[in-house]
Symmetry: C2
Amino acid sequence: MECSCSSLLSSNSMETIYSTQFSSFKPLFDLKSIPKLTSFKGISAKACYDTCVPKKGLSSIDEQQLGAADLVYHVNGKINPSFLTRDLRILDGFDDEYGGVIVDSERLPANPNVFASMLRFSVSHWKAKEKKAIWLKLPVEKSDLVPVAVKQGFEYHHAEKGYVMLTYWLPEGPSMLPANASHQVGVGGFVVNDKNEVLVVQEKHCAPSFVGLWKIPTGFIDESEEIYAGAVREVKEETGIDTEFLEVVAFRHVHNVAFEKSDLFFICMLKPLSTRIIVDGHEIQAAKWMPLIEFVEQPFIQQDSMFKKVIDICIARLGGCYCGLSVHQLPSRFDGKISTLYYNCIDN
Amino acid sequence: MECSCSSLLSSNSMETIYSTQFSSFKPLFDLKSIPKLTSFKGISAKACYDTCVPKKGLSSIDEQQLGAADLVYHVNGKINPSFLTRDLRILDGFDDEYGGVIVDSERLPANPNVFASMLRFSVSHWKAKEKKAIWLKLPVEKSDLVPVAVKQGFEYHHAEKGYVMLTYWLPEGPSMLPANASHQVGVGGFVVNDKNEVLVVQEKHCAPSFVGLWKIPTGFIDESEEIYAGAVREVKEETGIDTEFLEVVAFRHVHNVAFEKSDLFFICMLKPLSTRIIVDGHEIQAAKWMPLIEFVEQPFIQQDSMFKKVIDICIARLGGCYCGLSVHQLPSRFDGKISTLYYNCIDN
């Protein structure tokens, strides 16, 4: 299996950037000496022509200047003006370090028919070059190209607000492409003050079973946000309380939560640095410091094995009978990133 | 912030399933007494008609039987036969428990023009009903509908191999829809036998900096797979060695690894249950039991702060000086799921 820590397709991995020889239009062949073509893999129509009567020199033709009417070729005895103007161009792209090609999203043709021809030819070309995969990122403004790519065998890989990523696995056999992100990540902040009161909230918008219950502040971490930072941020946003991250005391793993994805939820112990609550009225109905005993004795905690265990752990941590995972930033040479490592203390 | 543990849009959350009154074609109005329509929000063209001359009774019309030529209406003095045959139908959908609508992917029209009209009318209808969001899942065979939806203001939310999900946030203000999965999750198995040898592999396909290095077996967990199960599986697949999961000793968090997503990597301590190595020739170049000292002394470990710390932790765990997070399965009533909780032992 691929190494899960490698930076696949991040900007770091694009070690070889190239523009193909076809990025500005240059015909594949010298037309004056062109042999009889019976079929050309990738070209949208079979072509066989006996005479070629180019109107312009074709050693170098600028794409923008080239109009379909400018070139007239006799193909199979019929005039096919668009044949050599569009179909024999490769889409611009870059090599990745795994033998794949990343199509340049910024140089895609807008016209779906032009794109269809170029895509077909490009796929054929890259297959002949024994490339492994094609990554095709279509920005939202190029949504017309989506059905074109799908009909030529591209598969959806993932999508974000501004684009959809499609892929094409070229070799025989099952695709070896890495999967998309599979997990959402949430954090909860367990904050207890020196009066043994825990910081709790009632949410405004929540599942019916949660209405009216007092719970610890929770939420998803933001894109590229650290778990320790997300926990502190959520508590701050929901209650106005400043905190310092101490440890991840436990984490929960559950599946099929949303869109068949999984959920990792990190329960974090935070130390309060302020006392005055300011409620985020957009999300939160109310927030307060609640005596720990009263919080623990809520029926929804007492009757739920998982909630009860989590609170037991937090209380043990408060009492010094439990050690969770503290956070450390460490550089790593193999991918050049500073990453965050969560681990327990080592007894000497 | 939304509760990260709620099962949003899973099959459990579809508490109310309904078919709209428009799922089989029924005209919106009784045409004989129809008032003058000046504009109708959601209809693709303004319509105002003085006389309606239906050819057939319209109290109930089967969609398949209805052809555009069968109904002739005078609209603004002009004949518009398609006006009432297509545009006044709502797409089939279900309510979710958050005030949103989930469009039924299995009952989408195939024709993009029909879909465009229905979508426009449906959005208008749901907006009038004060719905919060529309979830539109377009299977790959309906890729023609993607640009239609995008041009009507739908945004990409996420995609998987077989579909792309688009959303439309209806109220004013920023979208409150939950984000897509943001993390890939990997596991590594640290397996040491009773001769103090660690199980290591050399990968066939890896980043250039990894070629020839001996590393612990690693890989991504599968969809809906448990971390503890994934670690055991990866070791088994790569080396043929059976193991038993003991603990998560630490985890690493890094960002911008692939497609701007983040990576969580769980280092797992596993106890070997067999000794005979069988290499997975597809992925692995070689595998062996390597003396722990020799493994630790590899330059790429010694020179890398993160790798060195991880190995130090594993060795401490072997020596009984370290306690990681062990795995427990606990039911939870609030979402009806059995979930996996990883936590340390509590000192009594």
